[in-house]
């Protein structure tokens, strides 16, 4: 029990009459990687926002380190959030700041590092993400894939304990997304953070996962092992497997 950093307990979330999450339970253990998959509009981003305290559940609890964040005051919530690193689905870059300033912002505002230290740190991270030479551009001047990478670079700056990635590789070419996954793997080995990845990159992403959660019709289906998904007898999951993994297997066959 004490191992779980994040726990959703009987969480219900609805918008007007649409029930997005219907009494879901989820447990995420320290240092592990959880992949959340599911068709578009099933509530993956909503789940992340609940964990971040950006939305509050209609009922149920969202526990981070055993404390319910849906009942927290702002100051306590900020304290919890210092553990998080987040990549938003849309990137959420500050569009009036340059790439450099975007990545430097968390260091400037939350640490006491000197200008020189910040400069070095940021340039190092930008190099890691293949963004050297673009540091003076503004978000409106870079490509979608580059925005993703800037968002990732920014999220990793404060060496967070918990990383939440909302579709980190959507819009990247296959080599780039492979590189990003390798980067995740290395960064995680180094920093040992817990990560939650929302992704459509199925089944590639499963190599990284310690558990896979598939969201379907307001419910979460949890699999300890990616192979188990194939044996699920839930019709929704079967559909999902056929639509996502089937396609990829098919295209692999066609290449041969």
């Amino acid at each position: 029990m004490s191992e779980a950093v994040i726990q959703l307990v009987d969480v219900v979330k609805s918008f007007k009459s649409q029930v997005v999450l219907d009494r879901v339970n989820l447990e995420i253990s320290t240092g592990r990687t959880t992949v959340i998959a599911g068709q578009s509009g099933q509530g993956k981003s909503v789940t992340l926002k609940l964990i971040l305290g950006l939305m509050r559940p209609d009922s149920g609890q969202v526990l981070v380190n055993g404390r319910d964040i849906s009942r927290m005051r702002k100051r306590q919530l900020d304290e919890v959030r210092t553990n998080f690193g987040v990549l938003f689905q849309g990137g959420a870059l500050f569009d009036s700041l340059s790439v450099f300033e975007n990545v430097a912002l968390p260091l400037r505002e939350r640490t006491k590092s000197s200008r020189q230290e910040i400069r070095e740190r940021v340039m190092e991270t930008l190099a890691l993400f293949d963004l050297t030479g673009h540091e003076d551009k503004y978000p409106a001047q870079i490509s979608g894939g580059m925005k993703k990478r800037v968002g990732l670079a920014r999220a990793l700056q404060l060496e967070p304990r918990i990383m939440l990635f909302d579709e980190p590789t959507t819009g990247l070419d296959p080599t780039k997304s492979m590189e990003i996954y390798q980067l995740f793997h290395r960064a995680q080995e180094r920093f040992g953070y817990t990560s939650i990845i929302v992704s459509h990159d199925i089944p590639k992403i499963f190599n990284l996962a310690d558990q896979v959660v598939i969201l379907q019709d307001g419910r979460m289906h949890r699999f300890n092992n990616p192979e188990d998904i194939h044996w699920s007898d839930d019709p929704g999951i079967m559909d999902f497997v056929r639509l996502t993994m089937g396609q990829i297997y098919q295209s692999e066959q066609m290449e041969r």
């Binding site: 950006l54 959030r81 987040v86 959420a92 500050f94 505002e109 939350r110």
Partner: protein
């Protein structure tokens, strides 16, 4: 039918009460944000430049022509009583007590208030404010309080600038064009303008500045909570228009209230 109406009335009452509560808390957080460390001095300077320095041209022309019109109108009215000598005091009192603060506030609302509202609205819908929250960077300290403080600093200065330019505008119209005695224009002014008048003008301009900054940043920040605003870019444009209208009206209402209170 009747039940429906009662329900609508109830809903809209709840909405407005909530809205006021939200805006009240927003103001409190904004003021608290001014005192949070580290203070963003660079942001304050940038905002003062945006709100203040960039408005000087607009304010200059508004003030010059307002002063000149006052000079003309004042001259024709005062001449009927044979007291053209009072022109200086008439022009300067109306500018310092009323027109300076009000017109400056209205110009700033149109130029800077709308910009603040749209900026925050866009940051809200593109999740940039959520991103700040998630990095545990207080959006009030980081974004909103510098704008608020900058408006409080810039608007009174612009108002003084407006007054001075307006008084010279009146001088040009009255003395240079219509031939009022130049000595009388300025001595009349010196005798009739009291410290109280200047204080009233400054108090007004500070209150107006607070109103503009509060309403415009608040509406932008809450762009997604506002009823019937729609979504996305459309919601930002509607809410910005609404914020400009609301702050202009508030400026005029408070102008009346403050005048009545301090007379």
């Amino acid at each position: 039918m009747i039940l429906n109406r009662i329900e609508n009335l109830g809903n809209s009452t709840i909405y407005h009460v909530r809205d006021m509560g939200r805006m009240g808390l927003f103001l409190a957080f904004t003021v608290l944000g001014i005192f949070k460390r580290p203070f963003r001095f660079a942001a304050l300077i940038k905002e003062i430049r945006l709100i203040g320095a960039n408005s000087t041209v607009v304010i200059f022309f508004t003030a010059a022509f307002t002063g000149m019109v006052l000079g003309l109108q004042g001259y024709y009215t005062l001449r009927k009583f044979g007291s053209e000598g009072m022109l200086g005091s008439a022009v300067s009192l109306s500018l310092i007590r009323e027109l300076g603060p009000v017109l400056t506030a209205l110009m700033v609302t149109g130029r800077a208030g709308s910009a603040m509202c749209a900026e925050l609205g866009i940051m809200r819908i593109s999740e940039q404010i959520d991103a700040l929250d998630c990095m545990a960077i207080d959006p009030f300290r980081y974004l909103i309080s510098p704008k608020f403080l900058a408006t409080l600093i810039a608007v009174p200065i612009l108002t003084l600038f407006f007054d001075v330019v307006g008084i010279y505008g009146g001088y040009v119209a009255g003395v240079k064009l219509l031939g009022v005695n130049p000595g009388a224009y300025f001595t009349g002014m010196e005798h009739s303008v009291l410290n109280e008048d200047i204080t009233l003008g400054l108090i007004k301009s500070v209150v107006f500045a607070g109103l503009i900054a509060w309403i415009c940043t608040g509406r932008g920040y809450f762009v997604q909570e506002i009823r019937d605003a729609g979504f996305g870019a459309e919601s930002v444009s509607r809410v910005t228009t609404q914020a400009v209208v609301l702050s202009s009206i508030s400026v005029l209402v408070w102008d009346y209230l403050l005048t009545a209170l301090m007379l």
